[in-house]
Subunit: 305 residues, 2 copies
């Protein structure tokens, strides 16, 4: 019997800076219901899916910065999303800005959680490959202050069983690093899910603007094919607070083929029935245990001196 997991990639259109968390959650719930009507087992939301992508502007005041973060999850404004998912029996991936107290210290991460069909947090991840910069660049048309507002994640790239599939999580810029897919695959991933906020122009590198869609697709397609894994990448799309972001949320088969893609830059759900036997098929072709040569890969884990 084929092992099918029906996945919905729930792209988000822009979120206004002034939009309340409650209003955004209502949009997410609407997508969850639509996904349920289309038979989805798992819904993948984007990175920082509950607010505008605030690293695009400078925030000096600590209280103002903290207000963009979730202090608990679920919390008062997000509980309804978890409740509705449990009611529908739908799992989901959610990217969010996480404010955490660890050993009495405040920490901020660019995080994601995987919620099982009972509405429980089954897995958690904190972004490892933070793009952007630390310093104020007021003369840019927009900034990417992720390296200022977030710490580097301190959780491993790992997998979680939801909907009968081993699911690995990563976030946005992680998808450009081949190590991400490989580490997740060696940890058993059959499906890798991720969200992204990716502008269609790069202030420091305008010569690359026309390649942004291509690089998005190329990275995820290669990650899928070279690891024999399903990949679901979900955008925050459209013009948000003056920053125009790519869409092209997509579901990619272990063959590397794009099997579903969004065609708008608004809230949009795309759905595909992912056959996990394709993973077995491609994995057997590569046969990592037999054909990888880790004894020649030692430099991959060397730390820069």
């Amino acid at each position: 019997m084929p092992r099918i997991i029906t996945v919905g990639a729930a792209q988000s259109g822009p979120i206004a800076r002034t939009e309340s968390r409650r209003d955004v959650v209502a949009r997410r719930i609407e997508q969850l219901r639509q996904a349920h009507r289309q038979g989805c087992d798992l819904v993948v939301f984007t990175e920082v899916a509950l607010t505008a992508f605030f690293p695009h502007w400078w925030i000096e005041d600590e209280a103002e910065l903290d207000a963009w973060f979730e202090h608990q999850l679920p919390g008062p404004d997000t509980q309804s999303l978890f409740d509705e998912a449990r009611r529908l029996g739908v799992s989901f991936y959610l990217g969010y800005a996480e404010l955490a107290y660890e050993h009495g210290q405040k920490h901020r991460y660019n995080s994601s959680v995987l919620i099982d069909s009972q509405g429980q947090i089954a897995g958690k991840y904190r972004k490892l490959h933070l793009p952007g910069h630390v310093e104020h660049r007021p003369h840019n048309p927009f900034q990417n202050l992720e390296q200022r507002y977030f710490e580097i994640g301190n959780l491993p790239l790992s997998t979680t069983n939801v909907c009968g599939a081993q699911v690995g999580m990563c976030i946005c810029n992680d998808r450009r690093w081949p190590e991400t897919y490989r580490v997740l695959t060696l940890a058993g991933a059959e499906l890798i899910v991720l969200g992204y906020n990716t502008p269609d122009q790069i202030p420091e590198h305008p010569a690359m603007n026309h390649l942004v869609d291509f690089h998005n697709r190329l990275s995820m397609q290669a990650g899928a094919y070279q690891n024999g894994v399903w990949v679901v990448g979900v955008a925050k799309a459209g013009v948000e607070e003056g920053v125009s972001q790519i869409g092209q949320s997509m579901i990619i088969a272990p063959s590397g083929e794009v099997v579903a893609m969004s065609s708008t830059r608004e809230d949009e759900l795309i759905v595909y029935r992912c056959d996990l036997d394709m993973v077995t098929y491609y994995r057997s072709l590569f046969n990592f245990a037999k054909n990888r040569r880790p004894e020649f890969y030692e430099s991959l884990t060397n730390r820069p001196s």
Copy 2:
């Protein structure tokens, strides 16, 4: 001043089983001369560039098998290629079947060398990721007995300076493994060169036949972009001893863009002026030393238990 290296990808059409080494070398010399007329600094030949790709059929007799290998390089039949390259001042990459005596034992490898503009062997590599099978599969339309005829390489993925560029070598199936590009890049590669013999059908996996060109392109484009490195992939193309092989030899920029591609499945030379400053540009974007997270990649170098 831009650092330009002009590279020729010298695709090979089929080589008949009965074609003499001397005749094949004459074809390679003709390509070398054409490349020189087009201003090439470096010519990239394919994998096992001097004979038909004999792993496609079963050979029982050891002497018959050994006859497909180079017992020395340069040897009596290949010296003229090295001489002509030195005369023209052109460097080249050459894939060949290598018969070597190490510690008094005979070994067979699927190897490549990098020849500097003085006609000297500057670098050497032996294929690490051997595809195919060990056992006789007489009912297949053709076989791939690489795992029978070759040993796994025992030389590191490393780089060599030729023509003022750090050049990394790999061979055929190595290109499907993201580790190959990353290890070469961490070793300083600005340009990765490789040859391949890739059939356009896979007897054990006919459902993948229509994807062979796509997977070839996808792997090399991702390797180029994700490492900010030039990639040159060169085919043995066309119908050789009943086996139809893909062409699409290509030169790929550090942007991942295919900037030159063959359009035949015959001997064909494609040329591109590769700007090594593009490597610097893409490398600075990724900034491996700062943004890779090797402490989370440990599983990449674990050996299977």
